[in-house]
Amino acid sequence: MLRFIIRRLLITIPTILVVITLTWGLIKLAPGNFYTNERAIPRQLRQRIKEKYGYDKPWYVQYARTIWPIIRHQDFGISLKYQGQPVSTIIARSLPVSASVGLLAYLLALLVGITVGSIAALKQNSRWDYASMALAMLGISIPNFVLGPLLVLGFSLTLYWLPPARWDGFFSRNTILPVLTLSAIYMAYIARLTRAGMLEVLRSDYIRTARSKGLRERDVVIRHALRAGLMPVVSFTGPALAFLLTGTVVVEKIFALPGLGNYFIQASLNRDEPLIIGIVAFIAITLLLMNLLVDIAYAYLDPRIRY
């Protein structure tokens, strides 16, 4: 097990470097620069900016100047647009916002999704099953850029219960709508995954064995069926959580949250090279770590899997 983890961690490093290199290449291919604006700037000034940031050098020198501090000091540099703010500071500041909203949304999705999915599986082809799966279908089909504004229209603009946007700390009414918007699709997915997983497990031999041993139905469901039935949910959790924690562009934009996703989209539009690379690298690391955690969790959930 330990060897497996170490091996996976070691693979992470070249993967991240490849991701950074590809990102760097794409930024270089995109026309325009962080100083390109509606207003043209004088030629000499443009030249001096290029010199200052090394943009006048050949591509391999520029690449080395980007990649070396990252390898050597894990230093992603200073944002070009938000002058004077180091990339690490920006990530450290915006990550808690994205992560808390994302985590809360996912916990809510797990709670509701697993409950609804299990009930649907246990009462297959009942009213409950149809109703919850219809709702889940709706949840999957309504994109969050529709759901978010709908929730705002209902709860803020019509009922005046909740604020329509802005971040005001984790424990505030401002958090409710973005969390709901974000969790809807995951809730729906998890419900469907749980239902499918449970249905398959409930028909398997070892559940029949458990039942014939005379175990109580509750024990059969919770100790045996649910544990195995959740395997698809677990494999879904890794990438989903990585995605949620590192910020979601749409929800953060609709609700004006100061999270990573918001910075990411602005950084791309601003051609803010260090910030783009920093955020991409961060997301990649999170994604790889989450996948690793999922693989470890597999081993615990399924006695047949051993590394």
């Binding site: 995109a30 026309p31 325009g32 620069n33 100083y35 390109t36 604006n37 509606e38 207003r39 043209a40 700037i41 004088p42 030629r43 000499q44 000034l45 001096r48 900016i49 200052k52 647009k81 938000y82 002058q83 004077g84 703010q85 920006i90 500041r93 915006s94 082809n125 009942s126 009213r127 099953d129 149809y130 504004p149 709908l150 705002v152 229209l153 209902g154 803020s156 603009l157 019509t158 005046y160 604020p163 329509p164 946007a165 802005r166 971040w167 934009k253 609709i254 609700f255 004006a256 100061p258 918001n262 910075y263 602005q266 539009l269 051609r271």
Partner: protein, 672 residues
């Protein structure tokens, strides 16, 4: 077994649509309301304002955007401030100023009680430091060109060099080499030769004292050459006389002390310009000229704007900053006019999504939103309410044409495409915008004569196309076609945005209808677009827009002063430039405007652009927010703004922009 029957499905669908209908009913109930959303005066005296995009930096000399500008007007002050209604320069740290006879030199008299937020007093030296810092080549300030009217500012900023004879310590002079043959402004004429340079005023019967520096300023301009060897050699190669003269000479970099900025004494600042600039004082209200604290900048370097270190001099000072979320400022007790600052603080919310801004406004979470917060789909919902701000903006939208490539290098073709646009219909369809004739916005500069432009005339447009060699044929069904026109050589390029796409389609349909030509549309990501347009790397037509840097027609006319920078058309005419120069030398406002208009007429006739529309401001403020006016630049002197708790004194409708001194004085007696 349970199955949804047809009946149950119908009931479900009905229920769902009922929910939707009730929501939209509640939303449309708003239609009859006087204001857009909740109106409740906040209990505390802290204004909540959506300032637009996240500020790039809190250094007023480094960020040039409007969102930052709005915040800087709370935190920093310069010699002058924008008037709340007209945006003309009004006294700030400078109590008054004198202007010499040809507007090439200005003397500012500073108030003695101006202080920094840490209590230090402000003197003329602070301005000398700030101006020099802003122009320093290593600062890389993007708006440094705004200061280029100041003597040697451009040369210093671009790292140019003077040419000195090491034996005699004499510098080569510009006039001897004829690199720039223009009338010498008074600021460069010998002091004795100039008759009284300043008109005596009541406050100051005799001009300010003469200094050694001043005498040096009043001498012929030194010759400056580019600092880098390559460009210098290119210039010398073209001028043999100059090449010979520089042999054996020394190149001395233009330094900060060569700039035409002088602290005559602690409270007198003299600025020498390289040319006549009648609108110069208006330029000085820009962020770039707002004071920065020397001690703090020198101690903390780039980090001086960190909330822990920052020292400011505006009516408000920094309270807290959570980037991308909120920047809070509070009244600064050290500010010289703090007794007249009405709000206890302002919370600036940076935000870029327009519907989100308006949602916050509607539920009463903010008191006012930034300009252009209302998307076109919402305009009708908002514009008839009494909290909508309707006023012209000092900004124009036009189409640039690539005059360097056929077929658009033919002026007849350019005229034809202009004449084939029915702008009256466009105005009606765009609802809130104003017409545009030429490049200067309509209804902004009082007394400025607009150029004569040709009205929409489709028949004439077709005739011109025919004359240019592209006959327009009338089809049997009454439509037109122009088969010989190289339509693959033109397209209309615009930055990606839904609003740009709709207007592009409108113009496309007009050209199709009247010329029988379907100009292809091409949208591009913003920076990609700007990059392509500035390199004239577009075919035919591209989107153009410009906003005023200062309140003078010259800010628009100067777009075509050079062939590069923001010209974007490739069109350049020496006569145009000469007319502009002549206008700026003219001390008489009406005559100057007439000359500027003459230049604009030249531009209209050469038609490198198709004028489309003058923008209008497009935002809302709650009726209890008083002292905030929809001025042409959407920049607000925050100290005059206050919350009115008496409903009868609220603003019902757009407050008048007419300068009215009695209204101002009554404002200051009201409040709380």
């Amino acid at each position: 077994m349970f199955k949804l029957t047809f009946k149950q499905t119908t009931i479900g669908l009905l229920l769902f649509s009922l929910v939707l209908a009730s929501i939209s009913c509640a939303a449309s109930a708003l239609k009859n309301e006087e204001f857009f959303g909740k109106v409740e005066v906040p209990r505390d005296n802290v204004m909540r304002y959506i300032s637009g995009d996240e500020p790039e930096s809190l250094d007023p000399q480094l960020s040039s955007g409007q969102p930052e500008g709005r915040i800087f007007m709370a935190l920093y002050e310069g010699l002058v401030e924008y008037d709340a209604k007209t945006m003309d320069p009004v006294p700030a740290i400078a109590e008054r100023w004198d202007e010499n006879n040809d507007s090439s030199e200005f003397v500012f008299h500073l108030r003695r009680n101006a202080r920094w937020s840490n209590g230090d007093s402000i003197s003329a030296k602070d301005f000398v430091y700030t101006f020099r810092r802003g122009l320093a080549p290593e600062l890389l300030a993007r708006s440094a060109s705004l200061a280029s009217y100041i003597r040697q500012a451009e040369n210093y900023n671009q790292g140019a060099v003077f040419v000195k004879d090491p034996k005699t310590n004499q510098f080569l002079l510009e006039k001897d080499f004829g690199t720039q043959a223009t009338t010498i402004p008074l600021s460069q004429a010998p002091l004795s030769a100039a008759a009284p340079e300043y008109k005596p005023s009541a406050a100051e019967p005799t001009p300010d004292k003469d200094t050694e520096f001043h005498q040096r300023m009043h001498s012929p301009e030194r010759l400056a050459l580019p600092g880098d060897e390559k460009s210098r050699k290119a210039i010398l190669a073209k001028n043999p006389k100059l090449q010979e003269a520089v042999i054996g000479k020394e190149f001395v970099p233009v330094g900060p002390e060569d700039l035409g900025i002088e602290a005559v004494d602690d409270y007198t600042l003299r600025i020498s310009l390289k040319q006549s600039t009648p609108f110069f004082v208006g330029v000085l209200a820009n962020n770039f000229f707002r004071l920065v604290p020397q001690k703090i900048v020198e101690r903390y370097g780039r980090d001086w704007t960190n909330p822990a270190h920052i020292v400011t001099n505006g009516p408000f000072k920094m309270k807290s900053w959570r980037p991308y979320n909120e920047l809070a400022v509070e009244r600064d007790p050290m500010y010289w006019d703090t007794a007249n600052v009405r709000l206890d603080g302002i919370r600036f919310f940076p935000m870029s999504d327009q519907p989100t801004m308006m949602n916050l406004y509607r539920v009463g979470e903010v008191d006012a939103v930034s300009n252009h917060a209302i998307i076109s789909a919402w305009i009708d919902e908002v514009r008839y309410r009494k909290d909508y701000m309707a006023a012209p903006e000092a900004a124009v939208i036009y189409i640039v044409m690539n005059t360097t490539k056929p077929p658009m290098n033919d002026v007849r073709v350019r005229h034809a495409f202009d004449l084939a646009l029915d702008k009256d219909t466009a105005m009606k369809w765009r609802k809130i915008v104003k017409p545009l004739r030429g490049i200067t916005p309509h209804g902004i500069f009082a007394g400025y004569p607009e150029p004569k432009v040709a009205e929409f005339d489709a028949a004439k447009a077709r005739q011109l196309m025919t004359e240019a060699g592209y006959p327009v044929i009338t089809n049997p069904d009454g439509t037109f076609s122009c088969p010989s026109f190289p339509i693959d050589q033109v397209e209309y390029t615009f930055p990606t945005a839904p609003s740009n796409k709709i207007t592009a389609e409108f113009w496309q349909s007009q050209w199709k209808k009247h010329l029988g030509l379907t100009v292809p549309l091409r949208s591009m990501e913003f920076k990609t677009f700007v990059d392509a347009r500035s390199k004239l790397d577009y075919k035919g037509f591209a989107f153009g827009a410009w906003g005023a840097d200062y309140m003078d027609p010259f800010t628009f006319l100067s777009l075509f002063y050079t062939a590069e920078h923001d010209n974007n058309t490739g069109w350049w005419d020496k006569r145009y430039v000469d007319l502009l120069d002549e206008a700026n030398r003219n001390p008489d406002r009406a005559k100057r405007f007439a000359l500027l208009a003459q230049a604009e007429q030249l531009l209209v006739d050469a038609q490198p652009i198709i004028s489309v529309e003058t923008a209008t401001v497009n935002w809302t403020k709650k009726p209890y927010v008083k002292g905030m006016y929809p001025n042409a630049g959407s920049l607000f002197p925050w100290k005059h703004i206050y919350f009115e708790r008496d409903r009868s004194k609220w603003d019902y409708g757009t407050p008048s922009l007419a300068a009215n001194p009695t209204d101002q004085s009554s404002d200051s007696t009201l409040g709380n």
